[in-house]
Symmetry: C2
Subunit: 136 residues, 2 copies
């Protein structure tokens, strides 16, 4: 079948993102995580005591939608909240959360390595800069 769409970078971008998302999600699911959760854990690991709002801002997740995400992480015992002032609360990883993150990070880094390996060598180092230009 003739497919005129495949010559569009934007189309390829969506298809590639979808395909890779499905694959990574499957691996993370084995340890009860989704990509968003892992992103939040990573961000909290690098920025302890950040607020839910700040994390959401960084990940482009609305405050309202952070609520169930954080609830899940808290219920799992991976993060803890400590009041900063009357309205803000700092989030940080628990020891348990740090341990989980270590395993998740391994999954992710393995996956990212595989991703780059799929890209022909002559294009490889261009991928990240090109993508960054599209959203940063």
């Amino acid at each position: 079948m003739r497919d005129p769409l495949t010559r569009y970078p934007g189309y390829a971008l969506r298809r590639a993102a979808h395909a890779t998302t499905v694959q990574l999600s499957a691996r993370l699911a084995e340890m009860g995580l989704k990509q968003v959760h892992t992103s939040i854990l990573m961000l909290l690991d690098a920025n302890p005591d950040s607020t839910a709002s700040a994390i959401g801002r960084q990940l482009d997740i609305q405050r309202a939608n952070m609520v169930p995400l954080l609830k899940k992480l808290e219920d799992a015992g991976w993060i803890a909240r400590t009041p900063i002032d009357g309205k803000s609360q700092g989030l940080r990883l628990t020891d348990n959360g740090r341990e989980t993150l270590t395993r998740a990070r391994k999954v992710i880094e393995d996956f990212e390595r595989e991703l780059l390996a799929r890209v022909p060598a002559e294009h490889r180092e261009h991928l990240l800069p090109a993508l960054d230009a599209l959203w940063r």
Copy 2:
């Protein structure tokens, strides 16, 4: 805020796809279209009398989910169905549909051009081949 995620191509891929999707969707919405609809129209333009199954296969859309998509295109008077045999039906653009596609294609090609323009020249020609390697 320190963001360890930004060094991952997979993450950048998802963010870039999401960002660009939002932008293109906004433009297509002005003419009552979504990206999937436009994709289907393009595929039908290049492959008249394809079946719903074949189109779905090409776009990775399940047969069940093609139904409401095609219904919308048919209700809008953009495609027509003609029986091939007892169980299959060929889809093709109506004149109206071809006209709509012409306008949609302009939106898309303008957008794709802008997309590439955002990418620094030295990375530009690497984008499509790199993305293709990730899903094709």
